[in-house]
């Protein structure tokens, strides 16, 4: 099996990776086309502005209500899952989550795990851990299967292989899947994947999935998907392990329909996904299929840090639709891999710092035009631009005691702070401003022609030889 070649990467490489994509016209065209497609599909699903706004308000209130009760709901979920026969496990870190999953695999002497789509399993790098333990971990979502064959990570949380053309996938299948001739016919390519993966669903010892919503009052795990691979993973193998973040809980079953409607329409512009799978127990006596064991692993991994702060808590409202990425001018130009994190785009910028610390992610918050598109399309109204401003403050102000975030002040620089303080002082004092602007107009020619990143694509900045006030005075 091809190992993943990408790991979480520190922000130091962010600029270089972004530049590599921006310099590649083919990739830029590919992302532009894909995002335009997804944006128009979403727009077509929400023709009624009033309905969209009222549904977003309802979605926001559902997420905020459930987050406000999160500790209680986790305990209620635990009680009801246990009553239903589903085994619950808690993990604070990715290593703990991997250890739990692998111990279940080892208990069953598992050799092959088939995986449905799960961004949390990407977050904990489960595939690496499984393969190190001698257990094959095979992605079965078609897009995830493609990126796994290519030795990559997903570049989008909903469309993992959105960066690849059918020709690239055709070459990949021809090279990596035994006995497959080159074809770039999409139906034929899907059939190749289907045939390979069907054998694996039948053989697998363990099926792993994510969870879109966990319902506390009924002890139910809900999964949204189109392909049926999620159902295969949760039904065909004898053991099903689900893994999810602690925030994906709703108290009541009736909270699901509005969130499901917002999710599928925002993500792929579908009225509803092909399958909505609601799992409430392992196989019961007399039933002829379904796993004999169902496990749920609840992962923290920095979410409790976001939860502790009232403003940052809004990050956890996310239902992982990916609409913010599709509408983000930065994501559209650099693609998902440039971020170097499991979650790219606007949601990645606000959730990754809690998972990886600001030391590794401080530059992500600055990679935003703050145009507000992400906040406008978010189906549950996460104020992403406002959170990006907060993260900039956390990353770039001087370190202090009792910070709200791990790595607070990681991007702090005395020089930069001094420059901004000087800038503020000039603009606060009319006398100082007059003096500086006079000096600028007289000595602007001294400005260097190389001004770093600015002059790589623009002409050098030089103050005008005459100030506006001088020109107005001359006019009388």
């Amino acid at each position: 099996m091809t190992p993943h070649t990408l790991q979480f990467m520190p922000s130091a490489g962010f600029r270089a990776r972004s530049k590599a994509v921006v310099d590649n016209p083919f990739l830029r065209q590919s992302f532009r086309g894909a995002m335009d497609f997804l944006m128009s599909k979403r727009a077509a699903q929400f023709p009624d502005t009033e309905e969209l706004e009222s549904l977003r308000t309802l979605g926001e209130s559902i997420r905020q209500y459930n987050l406000a009760k999160l500790p209680t709901l986790l305990e209620q979920l635990e009680a009801n899952l246990t009553r239903n026969g589903i085994q619950l496990h808690w993990a604070e870190t990715p290593d703990e989550a991997n250890a739990i999953i692998l111990s279940i695999c080892q208990k069953h002497s598992a050799k092959l795990m088939v995986k449905g789509k799960s961004m949390v399993s990407e977050e904990i790098e489960l595939n690496h851990a499984a393969e190190a333990a001698g257990i094959g971990a095979l992605e079965s979502d078609m897009g995830e299967y493609i990126v796994q064959l290519a030795g990559e990570k997903p570049s989008h949380i909903i469309m993992p292989a959105i960066h690849k053309t059918k020709e690239e996938i055709a070459r990949l299948f021809h090279e990596k899947v035994p006995g497959v001739d080159y074809t770039d016919n999409v139906d034929a390519l899907i059939q190749i994947g289907r045939n390979v993966l069907r054998e694996k669903f039948r053989e697998a010892d363990i099926g792993l999935s994510g969870v879109n919503f966990a319902v506390a009052e009924t002890g139910t795990l809900c999964l949204v998907e189109n392909e049926g691979n999620g159902r295969m993973c949760t039904t065909a193998p004898p053991v099903h392990i689900a893994v999810t973040g602690i925030e994906k809980i709703v108290e009541k079953l009736e909270h699901i329909p509005p969130l499901l409607s917002l999710l599928t329409r925002s993500a792929t512009g579908q009225n509803i996904s092909t399958y909505f799978n609601m799992i409430s127990s392992p196989r019961k006596a007399g039933e002829k299929d379904g796993p004999n064991e169902v496990h749920l692993v609840l992962l923290d991994n920095g979410r409790s840090q976001a939860y502790a702060d009232e403003q940052l808590r809004k990050t956890l409202q996310c239902i992982r639709c990916g609409a913010c990425m599709n509408h983000c001018p930065v994501y559209t130009r650099i693609g998902g891999h440039a971020y170097g994190t499991t979650y790219p785009g606007p949601i990645g910028k606000i959730i990754s710092p809690h998972m990886l610390g600001l030391e590794a992610t401080s530059s992500m918050a600055t990679a935003s035009s703050l145009c507000g598109a992400c906040g406008e399309v978010c189906p549950v109204k996460i104020p992403i631009p406002e959170l990006l401003m907060r993260l900039r403050e956390e990353a770039f102000t001087a370190p202090h005691a009792n910070p709200a975030m791990r790595g607070q002040g990681a991007g702090y620089s005395r020089l930069m702070t001094g420059i901004w303080r000087g800038w503020a002082a000039v603009y606060r004092s009319p006398g100082l401003y007059r003096m500086v602007s006079w000096l600028g107009s007289r000595f602007g020619w001294l400005m260097p022609s190389n001004q770093g990143a600015w002059t790589t694509v623009r002409v050098p900045l030089r103050p005008a030889p005459k100030r506006l006030r001088d020109m107005l005075r001359e006019r009388g």
Partner: protein, 221 residues
């Protein structure tokens, strides 16, 4: 202290202020119309056909004839049935005489997994209900009609009584009282399996059924 206790302690320490209970019922009451049976059936058919399913209106007594016609047109001579259900038993009693073999899903999957994956071209199940708004079938698999019937065979044929079509998902779960008891696995199905993961090109039959056929029993038809 366990990971559980540490996580819960951190969350409880946040002392999050309570938030108002969302008015889901109010939203549906003001944003979704209640349609009559004919309109609901029409909307359901439009939506599920847009999702690439085939639908056929059948009479309460005549569905078996249409089932046979569908199978014959698709040149399927082998249909997996659930003999513990009334419709499965009728299919098993009458279709073999018309040239369609009807093996029964009557033993645990472990005993015949390979045959299920390799030699089962089609399966026949019922739907408990449906949702007009999204063209969605509600399946409620149980000991008699197991989960894999609607997933593994390349063709899935479903019998739906149009008297059980709801306007919305919300209406279905509220009127049927799902919150007080869900089965092992409840399913919403809105078309055959599909994916657009390769260059945003829609393709059917990704992992589950390539074809979904719905036989709609309704007196009004």
């Amino acid at each position: 202290m366990s990971a559980r206790d540490r996580i819960l302690a951190k969350l409880k320490a946040a002392n999050a202020a309570p938030a108002a209970l969302p008015d889901v019922a109010g939203w549906y009451a003001t944003h979704r119309v209640q349609e009559d049976a004919v309109a609901k059936t029409k909307r359901f058919r439009q939506c599920i056909e847009l999702a690439h399913a085939e639908t056929y209106a059948v009479s309460r007594g005549g569905w078996l004839q249409k089932l046979w016609e569908v199978l014959s047109a698709k040149q399927i001579g082998n249909l997996l049935v659930a003999p513990g259900t009334a419709h499965g038993a009728r299919a098993q009693a009458e279709l073999p005489a018309l040239g369609i073999a009807c093996p029964a899903y009557d033993q645990p999957i472990e005993n015949w997994k390979e045959a299920m994956f390799r030699d089962t071209p089609a399966a026949f199940t019922s739907a408990r209900a449906a949702i007009a708004e999204t063209g969605t079938l509600i399946l409620w698999p149980d000991a008699n009609e197991p989960r894999l019937m609607s997933l593994v065979p390349p063709v899935h044929i479903v019998l739906l009584d149009t008297a059980h079509i709801y306007n919305t998902f919300y209406e279905a779960m509220r009127q049927e009282g799902w919150a007080s008891g869900l089965p092992t696995n409840a399913l919403l199905i809105s078309g055959p399996s599909k994916t657009a993961d390769i260059q945003q090109t829609l393709a059917y039959g990704a992992h589950g059924p390539k074809e979904l056929v719905v036989l709609l029993i309704g007196d009004e038809q």
